[in-house]
Point group: C2
Chain length 582, copies 2
């Protein structure tokens, strides 16, 4: 039979995947993310289920170490095996894990030392170190070492004990990038505290270190702000809210896992929900976005929010948003003619769907988005990439413009004025401002030089930003927007924050990267490992089996990570199989 439809091809591939089962080596030991330096041997060591902790160094007594050890002990000894009487414990090769933390400074900030040394070897009367040993400069480095140690431990179903294969292990490790983030958006959908904690816990498995909490947006304002107690009236319901105490709880939970929390207040273009509590923040009842730039009250509220948040969020970076502000200025090569076509498409789609124009373009989850893509596709194919519109927000009328004329401002003036004034407020509270790339794209030369530019629209932005001396975070939506479900795993894996940046001093200005939107962390730990260690060779042979293995590890720990190689992300598996093959 000779059918060549895409359907047949798909089936052929699926069938191949279903039946290409290979026997896996039981002593296989994969570590994710890949450590900086590691060597292994051929010993197999058994680990005592009553593994005990011995601490040393100025920072060893920290509750962060003690709690971390208890957490990982539960993970390592998850399976119930036989129980052994205490006097039989000498049968195990590893009975003690020693952790030495050289510094007692527990401040968690960008650039905190996360390096560690991990040694695991057979007990030896002569050896001073012996058994299992983690050494780190800070408690956070020790936590990273604990994660790696837990990944060396495997439950052996034959003997029903935990084994470490391929010992002795000598691992010296540190991250490639200081900033390794995951964005959560709690405005478009409220995420319960428990869910946020589960995600933070899973971030620690991938050695991510920044939770970028996009708390507030135009759809809802879930956070309590004591200075302006009506603001959280903008929450979806009375139950979809975070108290100040909840926020402290999140920050503390994250700190115990070595994870910073960077809060975002996305202004002025994503703040419609603020007006539910304080309608004066809207330019007028019918014009609700951006925030009213012409009133001092607007900046009083921002200052009040930032004062309250400063007490909760000790992380030195604060995200001020600044994306997708509706001005008449366009970014890049879009022509007037094309703009007209785009506006016509958008209007038509809006009329058909009722979805607001700004959501149509940016939000792939909105019902009108696909239709807009289809309509626009026939107009200008080359501006659509992987199902996303690769242009900045077109002008379709900023409803403030007539009011702004009274103040001798254009909408673009107002945008710049707003962002710079908000930056000043953030800096006055001791924060380093982070802004989405449109601020850089639109008025780079006026931005505060401390600004960290947060890329999202596409490639090449960090190269431009660091060339002008700004620091940069890489989140190219073509690869690292987790709500873009059509990006294959290798696209996510290969995306490179330093692409096109060759000068070492400029490379250092790229502080890291961040995956945005959804809680799938498995594909993001590329930012820990060295570029040369992972970018050479055929990654289907080198990285993919290790990624499968890490997916299964996440599943075992209760994280519902989906199959890696699905054509469409987070879909259920296409048929029965081992998690090590899907």
């Amino acid at each position: 039979m000779n059918m060549k439809s895409p359907l047949t091809l798909l089936f052929t591939i699926c069938t191949f995947l279903l039946y290409s089962s290979a026997e896996l080596d039981g002593s296989l030991t994969y570590i994710w993310p890949l450590p900086s330096k590691s060597s292994s041997g051929n010993d197999t060591l058994s680990v005592d289920p009553e593994l005990s902790l011995v601490v040393g160094g100025k920072g060893g007594d920290s509750s962060i170490i003690k709690d971390g050890f208890d957490r990982y002990k539960k993970i390592i000894f998850k399976h119930s095996g036989r129980s052994y009487p205490v006097n039989k414990r000498s049968v195990f090769d590893i009975g003690i894990l020693k952790i030495a933390v050289l510094s007692d400074n527990e401040e968690l900030q960008l650039g905190a030392d996360e390096s560690y040394l991990l040694l695991v070897e057979k007990r030896n009367g002569q050896s001073i170190i012996g058994e299992a040993y983690i050494e780190a400069n800070t408690v956070y480095g020790a936590l990273r070492g604990l994660e790696t140690f837990s990944q060396l431990c495997a439950f052996d179903y034959e003997t029903k004990t935990v084994k470490i294969y391929k010992a002795p292990w000598y691992i010296v490790d540190k991250p490639r990038f200081a900033y390794r983030g995951l964005l959560l958006d709690t405005s478009r959908h409220y995420l319960p505290i428990n869910v946020i904690k589960q995600i933070i816990e899973s971030m620690s498995y991938a050695k991510l270190n920044v939770l970028h909490w996009h708390i507030i947006d135009e759809q809802s304002f879930p956070l309590e702000v004591p200075s302006y107690p009506n603001l959280w009236k903008g929450s979806y319901t009375k139950w979809e809210r975070y108290t100040v105490e909840d926020a402290y709880d999140i920050v503390n939970f994250a700190k115990m896992r070595g994870i910073n929390v960077m809060a975002e207040v996305d202004i002025p273009g994503h703040a419609e929900s603020w007006g539910a509590g304080y309608p004066d923040l809207w330019p007028s009842p019918s014009c609700r976005e951006p925030l009213d730039v012409a009133k001092n009250f607007t900046f009083d509220v921002i200052s009040g929010i930032l004062t309250d948040l400063r007490k909760i969020f000790p992380f030195g970076l604060f995200h001020l948003g600044g994306d997708e502000v509706n001005t008449v200025t366009l970014n890049g090569s879009i022509s007037d003619r094309l703009l007209e076509l785009y506006i016509a498409c958008e209007a038509m789609t809006h009329e058909m769907t009722g979805v607001p124009n700004d959501q149509l373009k940016s939000n792939t989850a909105s019902p009108g988005h696909s239709l807009l893509i289809v309509v626009f596709y026939y107009m200008k194919k080359d501006l659509i990439k992987d199902g996303h519109i690769m242009v900045s927000m077109p002008a379709n009328g900023n409803c403030q413009s007539s009011r702004l004329l009274d103040h001798n401002m254009t909408t673009k003036d107002a945008y710049q004025y707003f962002v710079l004034r908000a930056q000043e407020i953030a800096i006055s509270k001791g924060w380093t401002p982070v802004n989405w790339e449109e601020t850089f794209n639109t008025f780079a030369s006026n931005l505060n030089p401390r600004t960290i530019v947060h890329n999202w629209l596409g490639g090449g932005v960090c190269a431009k930003a660091v060339a002008k001396g700004f620091r940069c975070i890489f989140s190219n939506q073509g690869f690292w927007y987790l709500d873009h479900l059509d990006v294959p795993w290798d696209g996510v894996y290969k995306a490179e924050p330093l692409e096109g940046i060759n000068d070492t001093s400029m490379q250092e200005l790229v502080i890291g990267g961040e995956v945005c939107m959804w809680a799938e962390t498995a594909d993001t730990s590329r930012m820990w490992s060295k570029r040369e260690a992972i970018s050479s060779g055929n990654i289907t042979l080198t990285a993919l089996p290790r990624l499968h293995y890490f997916r299964c590890l996440l599943n075992r720990r209760g994280v519902q990570a989906a199959p890696v190689t699905n054509d469409y992300a987070r879909q259920p598996p296409t048929g029965p199989a081992s998690c090590y093959e899907q």
Copy 2:
């Protein structure tokens, strides 16, 4: 604009859902599943974060009560509020929860008494009961009462305390059906212990009481069987296994939540994986299913497995499978001509996809299934319903048939012989056998009268089974197969186990129902509540808001339950909104 494409309609609906936001009453109190009898008032009571437990009755001292109380206390007081000094505790209306358990019998079996009484009222010097009081005959009834109590408690973001609205509450409750199950399949995909525990925990939120553990199937054999230690060589990998201790752990974890675990060993047609460890169980190396009926060794292995499992699983019911055995006998009205067409379709689909014939029909997740549906659709539309083929397995050659001739058996004889002999083994171990409906459909008059018939193929089977005196479990795949993602929530909700059964004594033979395959428990609690309380009126007005509310409750507790009204189940939401509206 006048577009009437399905796409436009879809968008219109989505848009309606997005913008039909209604302000929800903060004192709203929905209970899921609906209690048997309840009355409420207009008081609002505050609950002390240091709520203490006072127990009474012969069974009050049980660790099941103590642990249950501790679990629910964490759920109820999840949000961090203000802390109150001990001497200020009198400000709270509810400081004590009294639980009286009349019996100290903790045996958990089908029909265990799960009834309870729950009273919550303002403290009153005259009242003997006072505050919050649960009374139950068994610890399991008390657990159900604790669940209901936890659903009355709501965190009030204004005062940052837990409140009970609409007090006083008087609830007298008991389940409509004794058997309220959820099937998990750990053969097609291994489920880690942690994930199974999460699902068991979430089952308790919906007052489900049987985890039907479909442990083994043709794809993999993950369970350790000490009598035949090579059996779990049929696991996908060395890591995708359950030790005997793991199984005990699951059973105990479930018991602490009042949930029975019914194990299934699906024979003879779903057991190919057994031969990985003992190839003699296969009729021949090229004919691996059904299990070899002609060897005593086959029944020795079954007996060994059942002996080992009997020690682990105290529940009186044991599932012997018996579905989809390939014989030449067909069930129902399918004609010879239609059968020929079906076989031709199946052969063609098999050739195109490489998927085995038996998977094509039954497994909607198999890549060939949709194609088979399409092909078959043009042959005989009326046998396709909601995307599923509603006929029993057609004959396409049982590979044992020529061997069976040597024993003067037809494939149908062999099927019956196998099932009945396995039933005898199970009964000899003190178990009540449960079998999938094909055994009843094929040789009802020879089935052991203790057999519980487990419906799955479609409607009307329980009516036939109880008419012949058998007990029955309802799992009509048209509604209660959770892997059939195209069934809307109201279809799931309205499906009725007693449909077509009017005689009361026959109704009593329907012990309950079960949802199969995936861990979405939110829609299944219909089996607790009385039929008349939920089947009258417009359920979109009565049940849907309560179901939304329960979905949000599950989310708050960390269960990743998806939006209720999606066209396709468990898809992400179509746009930003409150979880109370999606």
